[in-house]
Amino acid sequence: MRALAVIYAALLYGFIFLPVAVLILFSFQATSFPIPPFTGPSLRWYGAVLADGRLTAGLVNSVFVAIGSSTVSVLLGFLSAWGLARFRLPGEAWMRGLITIPLTVSYLIIGMGLLIMFNAIGLPKSLWAAGIGHVVINLPLCFAIIYSQMGDQQMTIERAARDLGAAEWQVLLLVTAPMLWPALFAAFFLSMTFSWDEFVISWLLTRFDTTLPVEIWNLMRSGLNPKTNAVGALVFGVSIMLAILFELVALRRRPA
C-alpha cells in the first residue's frame, strides 16, 4: 500500500515537473533555439535576458503592479472583512456575495469589461489600469481568506483594547491586524502570485509599459527564443528564494 502511494506520488510529481524541467533545461541551450538537441550548458541566454531592456523593464513593472495591487487588495479585503465580521449590517449577505462574486468571472471577461468601460470614459491603457484589474481579481480572494479567520475569540481582545481607551482605528491597526497576520500574509502572498503571472488582463489593459507576461508574449510573436526559457527559469528561481524566505519567517514567528 505504501509502495503504491510512493509510486503514485512520484508519478504525479513527475507530471507536475515535466514541462518545467524541459523549460529549465533549454534555458541553458548554447545555440539559438530551445528545442532538441540540447547543446548546452550555457548561460548565454540568461545574459541576454538581463541585457534585454524590454524584459527587465517588464520584470520591474510586474513587481510594482503585483505589490501595489496586492497591497490594495489586502487592505480593502481586511477592512471589509472586519466590518462584515464584527458588525451586524443590513443586507450583509448581499455585500459578502458582491465582494466575492468576481471570483466566478473569467479574467478575460473582467479585462474586457474594464477595457470597454475605460475606452468609454477615455482612460488610456496603462499599468495603472492593469493594476485596477488585478485588484478586482484579488480582492474577493483576500476578503474570503481574511473573513474566514475572523473568529469570535478575537473579539474579546478587541473589546479589552477598546475598554482600555483605544480608538477604533487603533484597535484595527495595533490589535486586530497583528492577530490576523497569518491570514493577511497568506492573502498578500496569494495575490502576489496571481498578479505576478497574470497575462490576459495585463495584455488588454496596457500599451507600451507592460508587465513581464505580456513582454514574454511579445517576444514570442517573433519566434522561438531561449530568452523566454531563461526568464521563466529566473522567475522560478526567485520564487524558490521567496518560498524559502516564507518558510524562515513562518518558523520564526511560531509561538514558543
Partner: protein, 355 residues
C-alpha cells in the same frame, strides 16, 4: 520579516532597473536611438558599428507599424534617429512629416535587387524616404529529407493527399489568403469579394490536409521536432535560422508564386544626429552589415543588397542564387480595404472552425 522582504524586493528592483537603465545611464549626446524590429537588437549586428564609431545604439523594439507610430506619438521630436518600418507603410510616416529624405548618392542603390527597391512605396516627389534593407517570403517551408522537392514546386501538392496530416498552416490570414489566391491563379493585388468563395475552398482543402494552424513559435516547434513536414505561410524567416543547426529545414517559392514581405530603414526629420543616422543606414546597407542583418538571431531574411557578404553556406540556406526567379514570381501582401478585410477575417474564422 516585512523589512527583510521589502529590502530584498527593493534590492532586486534596483538591480533590475540598473540592468535596464544601464543603456541609458551610459548614453552620451552622440548615441543613436533607433526604433526597430527585433532583428536589429542582435549584438552581432550592432557591435561592429558601435565599436567603429565609439557610440552606443539604443534600440527599442516594437511590432507592427501601428505600434511604432504610437510610440513616436508619445515621444518628443528628436527622441528617435532611425526607424525600421514595413516598406509598404513608409508613406504613413511621410504623411505625418516624420521622415527625412535620404541622399541616394550616398547609399548603395545600385546594389539592391531591383525588384525590392519598392520605389512606389518609398519614393515620393522624387525623394527617397525609405530604403529596403531586408526582405523575404511567406511561402512554403518544408523538411527536405521528408518532402520531395519536386512536390514543393507547385501549390497543388498542398491540396492533394500525398502529405495529408503532415502540414501546418501559419496563423496569419493575410499572407495565407494571398497564397490561396495564387493557388487559383489570382493576383493578390486584384482581389475582390467575388474571389472569396473560391479562396475559402482552397483554405478549407488546406485545413483538411493540415494538422494545426499555429503561431510562429508553435510552427517552428512543430516543423523542427518533425511534428509536421510542411509549413504553409512559412519561409526563410521561420526556418532559415533553424537550418544552420538542422539542414533539413528548407523553403521555396512554388511556381504559382509567394507573398513578398520587405522592411525599410527610414531617418527621422527631427533627428539631432542625422550624420550618425546616415552612417548607421550606410553600415546596415554595406556588404558586412547586410550579411549580419540577414542572419540576425531573431529571424533570418534576404539582404536587400546583392553584394551582402554572406558565407556560401548561408547563401545556400537563403537560396540566394534563386532570388531572381523567386522575385519574378513574388506578389505583394493583399492590401484589402476595411470591408474586404472584414470578409477575409470571416472566411479565416470559418476555416479555423472547420472540422
Amino acid at each position: 520579516m516585512k523589512n527583510l522582504t521589502r529590502r530584498i524586493l527593493l534590492a532586486a528592483g534596483v538591480a533590475a532597473m540598473a540592468a535596464a537603465g544601464g543603456a541609458t545611464t551610459a548614453a552620451q549626446a552622440a548615441d543613436l536611438s533607433a526604433l526597430v524590429w527585433c532583428d536589429h537588437s542582435d549584438p552581432n549586428l550592432l557591435k561592429p558599428f558601435e565599436d567603429a564609431n565609439g557610440i552606443k545604439v539604443n534600440v527599442k523594439e516594437f511590432e507592427g507599424t501601428g505600434a511604432g507610430l504610437a510610440i513616436i506619438e508619445q515621444s518628443q521630436p528628436g527622441d528617435w534617429d532611425v526607424m525600421v518600418i514595413d516598406s509598404i507603410d513608409v508613406r504613413r510616416g511621410v504623411d505625418k512629416g516624420l521622415f527625412a529624405a535620404l541622399p541616394e548618392d550616398q547609399l548603395p542603390m545600385a546594389d539592391i535587387f531591383p525588384e525590392v527597391l519598392m520605389d512606389a512605396t518609398t519614393k515620393f516627389d522624387g525623394k527617397r524616404y525609405g530604403i529596403t534593407e531586408k526582405f523575404g517570403y511567406n511561402s512554403i517551408s518544408y523538411n527536405n529529407t521528408k518532402v520531395d522537392a519536386a512536390d514543393m514546386a507547385t501549390l497543388a501538392t498542398l491540396l492533394g493527399d500525398k502529405y495529408k496530416g503532415r502540414i501546418a498552416i501559419y496563423d496569419y490570414y493575410l499572407p495565407v489568403i494571398g497564397i490561396a489566391a495564387m493557388a487559383i491563379g489570382k493576383k493578390t493585388t486584384e482581389l475582390t469579394e467575388a474571389d472569396l468563395p473560391a479562396i475559402k475552398d482552397v483554405l478549407l482543402k488546406m485545413k483538411a490536409n493540415s494538422k494545426a494552424v499555429t503561431d510562429v513559435v508553435a510552427s517552428q516547434t512543430a516543423i523542427a521536432t518533425g511534428e509536421v513536414d510542411i509549413l504553409v505561410g512559412g519561409g526563410e524567416w521561420v526556418t532559415a535560422g533553424l537550418a544552420r543547426e538542422n539542414p533539413a529545414m528548407d523553403f521555396t517559392i512554388p511556381k504559382e508564386g509567394g507573398v513578398l514581405w520587405s522592411q525599410s530603414l527610414a531617418m527621422f526629420e527631427a533627428s539631432k544626429n542625422k550624420d550618425m543616422a546616415l552612417k548607421f543606414i550606410q553600415y546596415v546597407m554595406s556588404p558586412e552589415g547586410q550579411a549580419r542583418l540577414a542572419t540576425s538571431s531573431c529571424y533570418w531574411g534576404m539582404p536587400a543588397s546583392q553584394k551582402a557578404a554572406l558565407s556560401d553556406a548561408d547563401k545556400k540556406i537563403l537560396r540566394f542564387d534563386e532570388q531572381p526567379g523567386f522575385l519574378a514570381r513574388a506578389q505583394p501582401y493583399p492590401a484589402p480595404d476595411e470591408a474586404l478585410d472584414k470578409k477575409m477575417q470571416d472566411i479565416w474564422t470559418e476555416m479555423l472552425q472547420a472540422q
